[in-house]
Amino acid sequence: MMKELLEYLAKALVDNPDDVQIEVIEGERSVILQLRVNPEDIGKVIGKQGRIAQALRTLVKAAATKQGKNAIVEILD
């Protein structure tokens, strides 16, 4: 659910949706989601002062809460 959500949102934000990749590292209580996008699109998933990244984290965390987990979103470049 979290991966699907992050993938959907990231694809809606970038110019190169086919280059969106997410790796999930599953822990006992938390999940790390590593987001990779086309280098040209990195600003589009971070936003001014990280505002888009922050909003992505808030939504993914809400999805995680629904499953009783904690989620960490990392944006890799």
Binding site: M1, E4, L5, Y8, L9, A12, L13, K44, G47, Q49, R51, I52, Q54, A55, L56, T58, L59, A62, A63, T65, K66
Partner: protein, 255 residues
């Protein structure tokens, strides 16, 4: 339709109730609180038990759309000025997917589906905005604490739908009229704090809020005698401070 109730915990019953009201964006009159477990003090901070409450929605909340709006108006006494006023009471709004409402509606629906939230989505086009309202049993999770999740969703829907220029109007994402209720609640809270500031002659700092919510507070107290307001702090910590007196006479204090 499922019963609309939620369970909350807190150090005290009051604290749990407060959290519930904030997360659900409701007024005390809208809910019935049942105490499931009284809090128990632990020894030296150990072994204590939190208060557990169940919150049930009361009143007309099972009714979709139209009636809910009517209740909103009457419940707060003096009909609060709507965020998006005009014809709300006359027409429930057709769900025709015009070009400008189509894309935001689809995006919100997709996200709800991924989150496995069973909800109805209704979009209306206004002169200066597109309003996408979500109705459902399980949408507290979509609102989040102080509307955090709803604000994040709204922001991403705006960025996602407007980046290509397909949609130019501002998109407002709402959940069961949450934004309107929240506005009425903030205005009431601002007035209560303002009278406290006046009587105690001491500044009061509010909780951190988003820019649009801070604006609601500033506007609510703009013409209130004996107090003035300013925002302090950075980023997510930015908050409104209500000061006694007059900004021209009194030096703002650092808080």
């Amino acid at each position: 339709m499922k019963e609309r109730s939620w369970e909350y915990v807190g150090r005290t019953v009051e604290e749990a109730t407060q959290t519930a009201l904030e997360e659900l964006g409701l007024e005390p009159d809208d809910i019935h609180v049942e105490i499931l477990e009284e809090p128990q003090k632990g020894f030296l901070g150990l072994g204590g038990k939190e208060a557990r409450i169940r919150v049930d929605l009361i009143g007309e909340w099972e009714v979709q759309g139209k009636k809910k709006q009517v209740k909103d108006e009457t419940a707060t006494g003096e009909a609060p000025e709507a965020v998006y006023e005009d014809d709300e009471l006359e027409e429930p709004g057709p769900t025709t997917l015009k070009e400008s409402t189509g894309k935001p509606t689809r995006m919100v629906k997709d996200i709800l589906e991924i989150l496995e939230i069973d909800a109805m989505v209704e979009a209306k086009e206004r002169d200066d905005s597109v309003v996408v309202d979500v109705w459902g049993d399980d949408i507290a999770i979509l609102i989040g604490k102080g509307g955090n999740t709803l604000d994040a969703l709204q922001y991403l829907v705006n960025v996602g739908c407007r980046r290509t220029g397909e949609v130019t109007k501002k998109i407002i994402v709402d959940a069961e009229g949450y934004r309107k209720r929240r506005k009425a609640k903030l205005e009431k809270q601002a007035e209560q704090l303002a009278s406290k500031v006046t009587s105690q002659r001491k500044s009061i700092e509010m909780d951190p809020m988003s820019a649009s919510e801070r604006k609601i507070v500033h506007m609510a107290l703009r013409n209130t005698d004996g107090v003035w307001t300013e925002s302090t702090g950075d980023g997510p910590e930015r908050r409104v401070v209500i000061h006694p007196g007059n900004p021209d006479r009194d030096v703002p204090r650092e808080t």
